[in-house]
């Protein structure tokens, strides 16, 4: 069930920061275009410092673009015409950042339910949903813990379900698993895929890890070095559900990995 219209379209997006000390800043993004379909898991891979975070910040409207436009379900949500930003586009766009950004003075459950409470949607159904999410991510029993009392992996899962709990139609993820050890990361990736299978949200997942991009995504976009643009678009035909512990043995993985690696170089 995919609608003809892509969920999110990014057209000829360009960005550079304001001049610094009189000198023009370099372009971070230039002529960057892509689209994501409804319920698609799109991953983007690119070298470090390619402007991946900047791109997601612009889509989430935390930051403005210098040129180009972004369409959400066909409607222009961000362009370079100097309109005031509307971060999250009225809670339609979720954003899981590199840092977990859990508020240290709120317990885990209070962090996860904060968006729902602020949006006035913390009803019985939402409560049930939150309990399910805690359960699905093995966080049950840690509801009353403060973030500093939790491990890095638990905080990541907390920040993930904080966004999933209020159920935005599209979720942006900026290297959410980059700061954890390899073992925890595989677990987190498996959790993410399981959660995605339950709800089938649209996800734009940015990473610098080629294996992660292939293992998770339906489609992998390769970004060039700065100024970033999309230089390749690979469809990943590995069947789901995927066993991420053995992703390297999956059919076609080595082949696609080699192609993406060459694109990046």
């Amino acid at each position: 069930m995919t609608s003809a219209l892509p969920m999110l379209q990014v057209r000829r997006l360009a960005k550079r920061f304001p001049p610094r000390a009189g000198a023009e800043s370099p372009w971070i993004l230039a002529d960057l275009s892509f689209h994501v379909c409804e319920r698609e898991f799109l991953t983007m891979v690119g070298p470090s410092g390619a402007g991946k975070s900047t791109l997601l910040n612009i889509i989430a409207q935390v930051d403005g673009a210098s040129d180009g436009e972004i369409l959400f379900r066909g409607e222009a949500i961000g362009s370079a015409n100097g309109r005031t930003l509307n971060p999250g586009w009225d809670c339609q766009i979720g954003y899981v950042t590199q840092d977990d950004n859990l508020l240290p003075w709120r317990t885990l459950i209070d962090n996860v339910t904060l968006p729902l409470k602020l949006q006035g949607r913390y009803d019985e159904a939402a409560k049930k949903r939150v309990v399910e999410l805690f359960c699905a991510t093995n966080l049950t029993g840690f509801e009353r813990y403060y973030p500093h009392e939790l491990s890095g992996g638990m905080r990541k899962r907390g920040s993930l379900i904080r966004t999933l709990a209020y159920d935005p139609p599209i979720i942006l993820m900026d290297e959410p698993f980059s700061a954890v050890d390899a073992q925890t990361r595989t677990q987190l990736q498996q959790d993410l895929l399981r959660l995605w299978n339950l709800g089938r949200k649209t996800i734009v997942f940015v990473t610098h890890d080629i294996a992660e991009a292939i293992a998770l995504g339906d489609r992998v976009l390769v970004l060039s070095k700065s100024p970033a643009k999309v230089i390749a678009d690979h469809r990943i035909d590995i069947s789901r559900p995927r066993d991420l512990g053995n992703v390297y043995k999956l059919e076609g993985f080595g082949d696609i990995f080699e192609r993406v690696r060459r694109d990046i170089q």
């Binding site: 935390v62 809670c91 979720g94 508020l103 003075w105 904060l114 968006p115 500093h148 904080r162």
Partner: protein, 259 residues
């Protein structure tokens, strides 16, 4: 606290008392009183209720002044957060006001408010307000912009951000301000009493000194010290409870007055 530390502290206290005793033996009790006399007089003054009567007056001036100065000092940075232009205009005046030696204002306050509680409260408020204001303002400007962005994305209004992110983040800084301000508050109340009063521990010090009653002066000083220590202890307790979310050994934890 380790038992060893406790005993070592006790030894330091004993050394101070012995040194004091030696001073009073060498220079005479008329100048230095003596630890034993002070202790006896302290118990006496507690028993006849005079110390509580005088202490309560000083404490009242310090407390009212702290509230009168502390509450605006605490709230103003939040009001100014949304008005950077106003903040930029007023900033040099805040710094100038902070620079004025407040104790020098005491005669003016006495002129305006008489010699009752009011001028002491005003003096305390003028000192506490600036200390709390600058400390809280530092906390407000240190707000983590990543938290703010994340909250905006999931639908937080400016009011939500002030309430759920800026306010809790600035609380540790505000507490640091109050902790620094506590001894100054007591001190300012006492100075107000030194200049003109017929009540309070400052009054007790003045009347002791004019009567060559050094024992009474030392009794007042010991009482003031104990008061400040107790206040710091209470503020510390309150802080620990309110900031129980904080990982141990983090954030601005200013240790003042030996607590």
């Amino acid at each position: 606290m380790k038992l060893r530390t406790f005993f070592d502290r006790l030894i330091v206290l004993l050394l101070v008392i012995v040194g004091w005793e030696l001073c009073s033996l060498y220079f005479g009790t008329i100048w230095f009183s003596s630890p034993w006399r002070v202790l006896r007089r302290l118990i006496e003054e507690i028993q006849n209720g005079d110390l509580f009567y005088q202490g309560a007056y000083t404490l009242k001036a310090a407390l009212y002044g702290s509230l009168l100065g502390g509450v605006p000092g605490l709230l103003l940075p939040f009001a100014l957060r949304r008005h950077p232009l106003t903040n930029a205009i007023l900033d040099p005046y805040f710094i100038g006001g902070y620079g004025v030696p407040k104790l020098a204002l005491a005669p003016l306050f006495i002129l305006w408010f008489g010699i009752d509680l009011a001028p002491k409260v005003a003096l305390v408020a003028s000192i506490v307000s600036f200390l709390v204001f600058f400390s809280t303002a530092a906390g407000v400007s240190a707000v983590n912009s990543q938290y703010v962005n994340a909250a905006r994305v999931f639908g937080a209004s400016e009011r939500d951000i002030a309430r759920h992110i800026v306010w809790p983040g600035a609380i540790p800084y505000a507490f640091a301000g109050f902790r620094i301000a506590a001894p100054y508050a007591i001190g300012a109340a006492v100075v107000g009493e030194l200049i003109s009063s017929n009540r309070g521990l400052g009054f007790l010090i003045v009347s002791g000194a004019t009567d060559f009653d050094t024992t009474l002066v030392f009794v007042s000083l010991v009482t003031l010290t104990i008061l400040v220590v107790i206040i710091n202890l209470l503020v510390g307790r309150c802080e620990r409870w309110l900031l129980r979310w904080r990982p141990p050994q983090q954030g601005p934890s200013l240790r003042v007055a030996g607590i």
